[in-house]
């Protein structure tokens, strides 16, 4: 078990987040947001803003800050603020005020007098269903609809009709905001033709490329630093303040700091969209699935953009079924943009699918764990590529025993005024890798750097680099210095898609073995201390294979003997032919106990257990943190979080008092267990991702437990007290 390398900085207040950088002469920027949900800007009277104390510049679509088109590697063609007069949603950035101090910028921004040509806005999901269109699910090559039918079956409807037992229900999940504790923020410094930007993000090398395009300077003149990131969860692939601060720093030729207020974070970034899902399941009396139908709707902007892939992310792959039909539609609305948020697709999709499986278990009269294992898949339906390493059955067996699942009774139990119920669900997240390059540098003082651009927004990647680096170099961990969060380091370690450990970890192994080869060659070369010998490497030392009497030399000794201070190599890995041979995924079994008060209908989660099959676990300590955190996100989706819009299209609940997140008193002890089966078919490292799977299935496990406790099936998140009133 390894402590986070950055823990000493984080507990003493010395970790430097974007806005903790203090530079002389920094000006402060403040955003102005739209106050209607749809229309066009008629005018912006900013004379009073300009005249306010300390104001240096005011940028609006009428006097824009120059920004050039950006084709982002992560997000595609990016919308750029202040470049046009269209208002697409309430809370869209429409102005940027720069002043000497934060207070001056904020107070001046409030003086802007904005007039709109307002048009009727559509922000209601249910009203918008009639305008739904087929849509490509996010991060997928798949068509919106996909059907797999057994020989001789004409349609999914026929397959459902021919089933002994069917259930058919519609589920809804609320839109959500990532709500990382660090609001999006940046300090941009323009000096000598170089732009340095301090901004929390998930991949500094990619953000540097986006910013270079936006401000039209060469990419090697842009330097992005994010040594620590105050949470991301998919929401920091880009940063509005970084864009605006960078352009303003260039325009004004002085450093500019900018941050979103907490209220602005809710609309000036992007959210997880709301979803609606209809699921029909058909099964035989023995529980065998005959047909799975999963139709999904996701809210989107009018330009569509990101579509939450709920059925493609779950029913497409999770269970063995003879017949499968899934579809994806978008419901375009005048709402803030949508984007990836922790387990995009899988999180809301699993609420629907795993609730439906629970409903089917009840209809058949079968134990929910047994039903899931009865339909355990060896490959995605209709595909030949078997799962590389899947131990879901083991997860459920261990979990059921540990949780006391055998004590569950169909009607729950009573404990005084509390109705107590248990629920379970499957969790799954694909096993992915992205291309990554890692540099390993040996130093003559006997230490080694392991470096990649990347980010550790709390995920533990910094510790993973130290552990894998030490293991690959065969040296103690305290000799390895992991480095992340700098666009000038080798490109890799993107924090997204639960890919960083498998990607950067395997690249570290390649870089380490390459630098060891170079070291051995150096030691036995003409200039080397072991010239003429056959040389080997073990335990961080070089030794002569043919002269065992000679003392082994550390790599520091070899470097000093050859007059070098460092020796470096990079290693690059990328997904390869393994993807043509197997399907990859992490799996888990979630268990939840809830207590519902007989009279007040308050729901308390009293126990949570997750048992996960995520391949090799590199650092159990930080892995537990990721998974427990994800599980608590699942509780939050089930009982707390939800974005709503007022009738005029304004987002309500735009702060941390109204947008409910769990606090410490809402959360019980969380039990996280692993079944460790290294997945060496995915990479030599054997690890799959685990940053996202923790959330998957939890909301369904909560809802299933609520049903077990009360007999009430809630098919809409978040579950509210009014959903549980007897006559509700």
């Amino acid at each position: 078990m390894t402590a986070r390398p950055d823990a000493p900085l984080k507990v003493t207040g010395r970790a430097t987040y974007a806005l903790d950088n203090v530079v002389e002469g920094a000006a402060h920027g403040y955003l102005v947001l739209s106050t209607v949900a749809r229309g066009e800007l008629a005018s912006m009277d900013v004379e009073a803003v300009r005249a306010a104390p300390g104001v240096l510049a005011v940028y609006t679509p009428f006097e824009p800050l120059p920004l050039h088109p950006v084709n982002s590697a992560l997000l595609g063609r990016m919308w750029l603020p202040l470049q046009d007069k269209d208002v697409r949603y309430h809370g869209q950035p429409i102005g940027f005020v720069v002043a000497e101090t934060f207070e001056q910028a904020r107070d001046a921004a409030a003086l802007a007098d904005v007039a709109y040509h307002e048009r009727p806005a559509a922000t209601s999901f249910s009203d918008g269903l009639t305008s739904a269109v087929d849509a490509q699910p996010a991060a997928s090559e798949a068509p919106p609809s996909l059907t797999v039918l057994a020989d001789g079956v004409a349609s999914i409807e026929d397959a459902l009709e021919a089933s002994d037992v069917t259930i058919d229900a519609t589920y809804e999940t609320a839109a959500q905001n990532h709500a990382a504790m660090e609001p999006h923020s940046a300090l941009a410094v323009w000096s000598g033709g170089e732009l340095t930007v301090y901004a929390g993000n998930q991949a500094p090398h990619l953000v540097a490329s986006d910013l270079a395009s936006a401000v039209d300077v060469p990419v090697d003149a842009v330097h992005v630093e994010n040594p620590v990131v105050g949470g991301a969860f998919g929401g920091k692939a880009t940063s509005m303040p970084a864009l605006l601060a960078s352009a303003a720093a260039v325009a004004l030729d002085r450093p500019v700091k900018a941050a979103l207020t907490r209220e602005q974070v809710f609309t000036a970034t992007a959210n997880r969209p709301a979803t609606r899902q209809r699921i029909a399941l058909g099964a035989r009396r023995d529980g065998g699935l005959v047909a799975v139908r999963h139709d999904s709707w996701s809210t989107t902007t009018r330009e569509i953009g990101f579509v939450e892939p709920t059925s493609h992310g779950t029913s497409r792959e999770w269970y063995t079924t003879e017949n499968l039909a899934i579809s994806q539609k978008a419901v375009p609305l005048d709402v803030p943009p949508a984007t990836f948020m922790r387990a995009p697709g899988e999180a809301p999709g699993s609420f629907a699918l795993e609730s439906a499986v629970d409903e089917l278990a009840e209809a058949i009269g079968m134990d929910p764990v047994a039903l899931r294992l009865r339909n355990n898949s060896t490959a995605p339906p209709g595909e030949d590529l078997q799962w590389s390493s899947k131990h879901l059955d083991e997860c459920f067996e261990i979990g059921a025993a540990r949780f006391g699942w055998a004590d569950r009774t169909p009607g729950g139990r009573r404990d005084g005024d509390w109705l107590v119920g248990m629920g379970t669900a499957t969790a799954m997240f694909p096993g992915l890798r992205f291309p990554a390059t890692v540099g390993v540098t040996l130093h003559d003082d006997g230490t080694a750097d392991v470096a990649t651009a990347g980010a550790d927004p709390g995920t533990g990647l910094l510790g993973v680099l130290r552990i894998v680096g030490a293991e690959s170099l065969d040296v103690p961990q305290d000799r390895v210095v992991p480095r992340l969060g700098d666009s000038r380091l080798p490109p890799g370690g993107l924090s997204g898609g639960s890919t960083a450990t498998a990607s950067a970890g395997s690249a570290t192994m390649v870089a380490a073995s390459t630098v060891i080869e170079q070291l051995v060659a150096l030691a036995s070369s003409e200039e080397g201390p072991l010239r003429g010998h056959d040389v080997g490497y073990a335990h961080g030392t070089v030794y002569a294979l043919d002269a065992p009497e000679r003392d082994p030399m550390t790599f520091g000794d070899v470097l000093r003997a050859t007059g070098r201070s460092t020796l470096s190599a990079t290693g690059t890995t990328a997904p390869g032919e393994e993807t043509t041979k197997h399907s990859f995924g992490s799996w888990g079994a979630q268990f939840c106990e809830v207590r519902v008060h007989r009279l007040t209908r308050e729901v308390r989660v009293s126990r949570l257990l997750g048992v996960f099959d995520a391949g090799r676990i590199i650092n159990p300590r930080t892995a537990r943190g990721q998974l427990a955190g994800g599980m608590i996100w699942g509780v939050s989706a089930a009982l707390h979080e939800g974005i709503e819009f007022d009738d005029d299209g304004r987002m309500s609940r735009r702060d941390l008092a109204d947008y409910l997140l769990p606090v410490n008193a809402d959360i019980p002890d969380v039990d996280v267990q692993f079944v460790e089966h290294p997945d060496t078919l995915l990479s030599d490292l054997g690890a799959r991702g685990l940053g996202e799977i923790g959330i998957v299935g939890v909301a369904a496990a909560v809802a299933n437990a609520v049903h077990n406790a009360t007999g009430i099936r809630v098919r809409r998140l978040p579950i509210r007290i009014e959903d549980l009133l007897e006559d509700g």
């Binding site: 934060f102 105050g230 427990a628």
Partner: protein, 157 residues
């Protein structure tokens, strides 16, 4: 207006507008950036400091109104030695992204000062400090351990 603030044992003189919060004065004027701005309206706890030995939300406190000594997370440790609560947070991995951690630790020290030891008491007391990474279970463990260690440290004095 000219004000004097005692921050972590050092008296600082500065000229601020009356509307400047203690949080912004610390961060932007004095370079004391441990306290964080997570919401700027007293809803998240990331800016928690001690004023006169009591926890306070520095984002809801105007700098000009502060007359008692202020302690931030930086003031708990010396370069050589972590405060027992800081060590407990690191050892229990009671953090992920770390952004809320300075505020969590200031509240945790206050919990220990009150002698809170039962997990439910600690959960309740710590509920003004949001952690979106949701390290809540390990935070509870760290507060218990840090408090007992603090007690032991006091006993040896």
């Amino acid at each position: 207006m000219n004000i004097a603030l005692e921050i972590n044992g050092t008296t600082e003189h500065l000229d601020v507008a009356p509307g400047v919060t203690l949080l912004d004065a610390l961060r932007e004027r004095l370079g004391v950036t441990g306290p964080k701005k997570g919401c700027d309206r007293g809803q998240c706890g990331a800016c928690t400091v001690h004023i006169g030995g009591r926890t306070a939300l520095s984002c809801l406190t105007l700098a000009a109104t502060v007359t008692q000594p202020v302690t931030t997370v930086e003031g708990l440790s010396t370069p050589e030695r972590l405060h027992p609560m800081q060590r407990a947070f690191a050892e229990h991995d009671a953090l992920q992204c770390g952004f809320c951690t300075p505020g969590q630790i200031m509240s945790a020290v206050a919990a220990a000062d009150r002698g809170l030891a039962e997990p439910d008491e600690i959960r309740e007391f710590m509920s003004g400090n949001l952690c979106r990474c949701s390290a809540y279970p390990t935070i509870v463990a760290a507060v218990r351990d840090g408090a007992s260690e603090e007690g032991r440290a006091d006993a040896t004095v």
